[in-house]
């Protein structure tokens, strides 16, 4: 999507107000108000705990996925890495390896998966869509291969309890804190560092990024490694939370992650999107499905509603862009133009 000079020439607060991120956050607020007041049993600590436990893997993986989609690439293999990590954890613990050691091995496996994806995409130059469809099948195949069709369900209670642990009596799961730390790290990386500016530059124009000195290959490689590593972490959490290691764990999770990222205002064409929008996107889907489940709405109807929401939100990008362009042009005609483009750096993409 092309962005005109006019769209950068409006004051900061107005650009924030008409942005996709703000729209999603406002929608999330509306849904929350409806759920809290209109859905019985929603406004309980138990609901909040379950909600946060359920969406934790999606939240975690959405962080690196956002960065990857901003570069204009995609990683479809994340759910298979979750499955592989889950299967590895089960097999290792079953053979008497201590959980922390097994978890480190799983993370290492994640790094290896990411290196393979990153190497093929960044250095060999293959399209990420094709590469990660391939590794989606490959990693899932290995996961089912190492474990077979059985499930390993005996994990030490102190570790499975840790996966579900709450911070004090607040009802906020420990994994949410882990996410918060990672989210701060990713925000600093993506929105407040030279590396992050490079990520956006690649997404806007990969060739131009090369000429302005952005290490395109290294950046993409690093993002794919990050993505698989975080997915492996999600796999460890997933396994311990359900005390169940299966090769088919988290099948289809990649689409839930990508849906939430796109809902959060990240452009599939790259170059545009902010992490707070993505977090709001994940929360929106989580809150909506939780509230609808409490209302007794069946899974098919929930899927239809979320699907429609996604389609509407993708359409709204174009509509919003048009509205803001029109408003900006009218504004320009009426008053004197608003100084220089403020947002060349990382302000709004």
């Amino acid at each position: 999507m092309s962005r005109t000079y006019a769209s950068y020439s409006r004051p900061l607060w107005r650009r924030l107000l008409v942005s996709r991120e703000t729209a999603i956050i406002a929608l999330l607020a509306l849904v929350l108000i409806w759920a809290i007041n209109g859905v019985s049993y929603f406004a309980t600590q138990l609901t909040m705990t379950f909600l946060l436990l359920d969406i934790a893997p999606i939240l975690l993986i959405a962080l690196p996925m956002t960065a990857i989609i901003v570069t204009g690439e995609i990683d479809l293999s994340v759910a298979s890495v979750v499955g592989l990590s889950s299967a590895m954890l089960g097999v290792l613990v079953d053979h008497g390896v201590a959980v922390p050691v097994a978890a480190l091995v799983c993370l290492a496996v994640g790094v290896a998966c990411g290196c393979l994806n990153g190497f093929l995409v960044a250095y060999v130059g293959l399209p990420s869509l094709a590469v990660t469809i391939g590794t989606l099948a490959l990693f899932r195949g290995v996961a089912v291969g190492v474990l077979g069709t059985k499930a390993i369900t005996s994990f030490p209670a102190r570790w499975t309890d840790l996966a579900k642990a709450e911070v004090g009596g607040t009802g906020i799961p420990l994994i949410t804190l882990v996410f918060a730390v990672l989210a701060i790290g990713f925000t600093l990386m993506l929105h407040y560092s030279a590396f992050g500016r490079g990520v956006y530059d690649i997404g806007l124009n990969s060739e131009a990024a090369v000429f302005t000195g952005v290490p395109v290959q290294r950046t993409k490689f690093a993002l794919f490694v990050l993505s698989a590593t975080v997915s492996a972490l999600a796999g460890i959490y997933f396994t311990l939370r359900f005390s169940s290691s299966r090769g088919d764990n988290a099948t289809g999770l990649e689409l839930q992650v990508i849906a939430a990222v796109l809902l959060g205002g990240v452009s599939i064409f790259g170059g545009r999107g902010r992490l707070h929008g993505v977090v709001a996107g994940v929360l929106l889907i989580g809150v909506l499905s939780s509230a609808l489940r409490l209302q007794g709405v069946t899974v098919n109807v929930i899927n239809i509603i979320i699907g429609l929401l996604l389609v509407a939100s993708v359409m709204s990008t174009s509509v919003l862009a048009w509205v803001s362009d029109v408003a900006a042009r009218r504004n320009k005609r009426g008053t004197s133009p608003q100084l220089a483009p403020v947002g060349v750096g990382n302000q709004e993409r």
């Binding site: 019985s40 309980t44 489940r293």
Partner: protein, 345 residues
């Protein structure tokens, strides 16, 4: 400017919604609303959570459950995931715990993975009944068992004995060679044959690995290798359907009896064209019906789920809780051309 004031209003509105949402959250997380005193006087709300939705087997069993809940004057609901995965199913169990549903009836996608959710549900006062597929025994109040190994083995031997006139050569077409439950049934069948049917000779047991094509090929090989074969038992739904498909097109149709465990939808065609006289399974409708009555008895406090507890399950009569907090539905159900059209699973 006009536009500006509109935007200011918009900003204010957004800020306000945030404030509302935040305060709402804070207040909501503290109190438990009106955690309804659902036990005793109030009518039981019973929710069925099958392995997945849109599965004809569970549609049938849950229809039985619905009938029972309606007879009891309770509220029936059916929720569940689209795909049979434990993590998706756990979310539905969690939801029922949040709603303080009186009882849930679950067919578990994993014996262990659901335990944490089930425990939370039981802590919240929800009774947990499993049916069809059990969880670990400590995770639920009762398991409604569709059939025992003894019952399954006996009904299959009885059917083949009846169909071949209690004498001659038979073979078994099983799933995989290391399927624990199938091997247990086959051992029991062998004992039963040796004890009560001396004239029936089991000549071979072959394994189709629950794969349609393999089972089909193994059936063909069996018939060639044993020209005097009079009957085949296939204690697996995949195997019996593949064997029936082969038999129905071969000149052995009607001459070699075929029986075992199958589902009416898969076997309807072969029962109607005379390839198969009678096969067995349990009746999922009765299974759901019994599960609902058991759940209701737990909710009302008539039973605790301990061994020896007795309760009445409507048209199915009286049941007693057995070892490991298990209730047995009864003998397997036989399907033949007279009743097969009543079943749609």
């Amino acid at each position: 400017m006009l536009i500006y004031s509109k935007k200011v209003a918009g900003l204010a509105a957004v800020t306000l919604t945030f404030a509302l949402a935040l305060t709402g959250c804070g207040k909501g997380s503290g109190d438990n609303n009106d955690s309804t005193s659902s036990s005793g006087s109030k009518k039981a709300s019973i929710t069925f959570i099958p392995k997945n939705l849109g599965n004809p087997y569970f549609d049938t069993s849950d229809a039985g459950g619905k009938k029972a809940v309606e007879e009891l004057g309770g509220t029936y609901a059916q929720v569940g995931p689209q795909e049979a995965s434990p993590d998706a199913q756990a979310q539905y169990i969690d939801t029922e715990a949040q709603k303080h549903t009186s009882a849930i009836v679950v067919s578990a996608n994993d014996p262990q993975a659901l335990c944490d959710s089930l425990k939370k549900a039981r802590d919240a006062g929800t009774k947990v009944v499993t049916f069809d597929s059990d969880t670990n025994p400590e995770c639920r109040d009762l398991f409604i068992n569709q059939a025992t190994a003894d019952g399954i083995a006996k009904v299959e031997v009885d059917m083949i004995a009846e169909q071949i006139g209690d004498s001659g050569e038979i073979a078994i077409l099983s799933a995989s060679a290391n399927a624990t439950n199938k091997n247990a049934w086959i051992d029991l069948m062998k004992k039963d044959l040796a004890a009560d049917h001396p004239n029936i000779k089991l000549v071979e047991t072959v394994y189709g690995n629950d794969d349609d094509q393999t089972s089909f090929d193994k059936t063909a090989a069996l018939l060639q290798k044993h020209p005097d074969l009079k009957g085949i038992i296939s204690p697996t739904t995949v195997g019996i359907a593949a064997a029936a498909r082969y038999l129905s097109k071969s000149d052995k149709k009607g001459k070699v009896a075929l029986t075992g465990l199958g589902t009416p939808n898969q076997m309807r065609e072969y029962v109607k064209d005379g390839t198969v006289t009678e096969f067995a399974l349990w009746n999922p409708e009765d299974l759901g019906y019994l599960a609902a009555y058991a759940a209701d008895a737990l909710v009302k406090g008539d039973i605790k789920g301990d061994e020896g507890d007795k309760f009445k399950a409507g048209k199915l009569g009286d049941f007693t809780v057995g070892a490991d907090h298990t209730v047995l539905l009864g003998d397997p159900f036989k399907f033949n051309k007279d009743n097969i059209d009543q079943f749609k699973f």
